[in-house]
Symmetry: C2
Subunit: 177 residues, 2 copies
């Protein structure tokens, strides 16, 4: 037990704030990250490797880019490029923090339905466990928004730990994050 | 992050083997324990404190003690005493292992419905997270046996991580553990 082999590989699913937008992490994902460092990694910075996955949901309606003018195919390419840059800025937040405290990490972006993509990436990357934040919504609110964490607990092929947002950090509209 | 404060308090719910009986731990709870040491505690033995909870289900039919003769109230007292001793032998397995590798721990026994009692103890003891083993039964098998881990994931007031039994450790009858 005293001999440290390969580090424990912890996948952390992260997303952007619904209030502040990119590059700010959501309250839940920041909380899950900080919890992992404080309660699991602790001072054993060489014993863990964090794997940050950010899943971007493709715009279904394009409303995000309402203020853009689309006059050529290149405009669409630049929109996609811009989204990617935003995702990278989000990941930078986590990677920089890990770098500052000396915890090894990797980070990457995928597109699709977050819950499906997270479970798919678990299958590919085979982390030792997955950490997901959770807004701690009540059953009534959950009916409308669904929760990524519940899906992952059921379907991800690795142990999953769900970190609920603390009551003190819940915004006025609890669906916000 | 480098300064270690209070150790992370990890509650581990443990039960006896359905095949070998006391004092042998179930395959699931042994697996959850070993996973916690290997993937979370690692070499940081002073950073964690393990809290072992064993919940004994009261005999509803007394079949466990069919071979006993009950002639006086004291006979019932001795039966209860014997059950407690069995539970202690189970806990000894885990406590001894922790002692050998230098991880602080506590262990205690409660009686009742395991899933309800585990959640109740979480409320009293306030661990940082709870680890529960899981037999990894399919949906059809789960209908008949229920699973403690699913209940705890939904109802325990702390983060919960469920460690599934590996396929290689599954006994001939997967309901056995």
């Amino acid at each position: 037990m005293a001999v440290e082999g390969e580090p424990t590989r912890v996948m952390v699913a992260v997303n952007e704030s619904t209030i502040k937008g990119y590059p700010h992490p959501s309250i839940s994902s920041r909380g899950a990250f900080e919890w992992t460092l404080k309660k699991i990694v602790r001072s054993n910075t060489s014993g863990f490797k964090l794997l940050f996955l950010h899943v971007q949901v493709p715009d279904e309606d394009g409303f995000d880019d309402m203020d853009s003018i689309f006059a050529s195919p290149e405009d669409f390419a630049s929109m996609k490029h811009r989204n990617k840059i935003r995702g990278l800025h989000l990941l930078e937040y986590f990677v920089k923090h890990c770098h500052d405290i000396g915890v090894a990490c990797e980070a990457w972006i995928k597109k699709g339905d977050p819950k499906e993509v997270i479970c798919h990436e678990v299958n590919c990357v085979r982390p030792d466990f997955l950490v997901v934040g959770n807004r701690g919504l009540g059953p009534f609110q959950r009916v409308f928004v669904g929760t990524v964490s519940e899906f992952c607990v059921k379907h991800a092929e690795c142990p999953v730990i769900t970190i609920k947002r603390s009551a003190s950090e819940t915004p006025q509209d609890p669906v916000d994050d």
